[in-house]
Amino acid sequence: MNDLTEQMRAATAAPPPSTLDLDGFIAREQRRTRLLRWSGGSGAVALLVAAVLAVPALYAGDGGTGLTPGLAGPRCPTPGPNPTEVPQDPAEPGPSPLPLDRCAETAARLGTALRAALAGTAPRVTATPRTPEVFVYQPRYAQYEADFALAGAAGTGGLRVEVKVVPDNPPTEQQVCPPGQPGARKCSYRITRSGTVLFTYDANFSRKAEAYLRDGTLITASAGVPVPEGTKTHEVAPPPLTTDHLLALVQWPGLRLLPGVAASPPPPGDPATEALIDTIVLNLRRKLPDGAFAQPPVPGSPENGLRAWYEAGGLGVITAEVAGTCVDPGAAAECDREPCPEQPDSVYCVVDTDGTRIVGAHGSATLFTPAGRVFTVTAEGALAQRLTNADLAVIAQALAATPPR
């Protein structure tokens, strides 16, 4: 068998039993054909019935947009019908509706806030809303949305702002803006000290900014210009709003949580503890981009320095301790300023040029500052396996650099 043809025939000479059933396949195809014929006929009948039923409603003067008057409160502004939109499958549950009795109030409040935000952030750009209400409520996506036509010295374009509640955690940097990937230079990802995740993407003719607040609100602002057919995207003039403008819009104080949706209030605690916890959250999100931080931060007690702990859902607990001075007799040996002695492999010891000394063992890192402050970060549970000594040391350094609020 030195020939390729013979080898191929030999390789296929003993096939395993086939999973193909020709008779079953033909029967399925025949059923499908019958179903298509039946659904086509019944669809035409259903269309006829719907048309007959719709005629009296049209003559009654109700255009069919918005909610039925008298349901509750003022009429909720909703977008007009979109002829190209695919109708929602009634069997598929959509997003949970927001309280409609406050819909009109919320839309008006958001509209006022957005007008103020545009005037404050981009006063030289003329923004004309495409609907008189500015914001309308889109029940299909359970979100408030506003569309503007933009005109400025740099050109024209469109702006869309959406406000909604997202039940999931905000996306990680790895998901939306992975460092080192092509296109990473077009996007930015930042977590503010208050825990708000800010994401921008700039494709020149289309720009976007998103703000994920800690209470679950997502504010999206996107500006773009239409690209005529046959035109290359880099030849199109960018929209008159930059990503900085969009970032300012999504962080505008008035564009905030929707009424009727419970926000998890920030935990009570002293500002120094909250600052420490924010630093821990920020660093954990960077180190564990796939971590689900389902638990809210829990402040500790400032007795004997500060002690705070943070439970990362399913991953374990990380504890941060701050002692004012290095006076613990048990830690006296650690407090001296001698160079790091030779340590077993499991221990990590570094002396920085400014005299800061970091000592770490498995699941723990302690930082001694020249001023005598001691920061200890301890990881328990799965976190201890996933965070290296260097990771814990980075968090300890960030804690040491966190200014008190």
Partner: protein, 168 residues
């Protein structure tokens, strides 16, 4: 009215051959069944037209080639990274002959898809250069060059074992 009996007779007599072709193209019997199933669906729905063609086999081979190319583009066929290496296959030697039979499939799997298709069509389906070019939608010169490069690649891997004869 569709000639279902004609379809059953035609497909039933060639089903095993299509499976073998699909196996050589894909290197996996389960995938081969999927490809044949996909091709059968197209064949059944256009049977009225295909049954009047001079060479219906060419239609089904084109369906198989498209199914192979489409299958390779599916997201779950892309490369993925894992933290832990998956279990390895047993290292006990297979029965006599099995290794030889699997060798040619493994070698084909290392070739780019179109070169693999050229070899399967020419050396397993016994098609001429012109017929292969027509089924792949390219020129005869392209088929010749692809065949030459594919055989060259196989020879380089086999280091003169004689599996691949000189091209006629």
């Amino acid at each position: 009215m569709k000639d279902v009996d004609g379809f059953r007779e035609y497909a039933g007599s060639r089903l095993e051959g299509w499976r073998r072709t699909a196996y050589l193209l894909s290197g996996d019997w389960h995938l081969a069944d999927d490809m044949v199933s996909s091709a059968l669906t197209g064949l059944y729905r256009h049977w009225d037209r295909v049954s009047r063609m001079d060479n219906p086999d060419a239609y089904i081979r084109t369906c198989l080639l498209r199914a192979m190319l489409n299958e390779r583009r599916r997201p779950w066929r892309r490369e993925r990274s894992f933290d832990v290496l998956p279990d390895r296959a047993a290292t006990t030697p297979p029965p006599d002959g099995v290794a030889d039979r699997e060798a040619v499939v493994a070698l084909l799997a290392e070739l780019p898809a179109r070169r693999r298709a050229v070899l399967v069509l020419r050396y397993f389906c016994d098609l001429s250069v012109e017929q292969t070019a027509a089924e792949l939608g390219c020129s005869a010169g392209t088929v010749k060059s692809q065949t030459s490069r594919a055989l060259e690649a196989l020879r380089a891997r086999l280091q003169g074992t004689g599996l691949v004869a000189e091209e006629a």
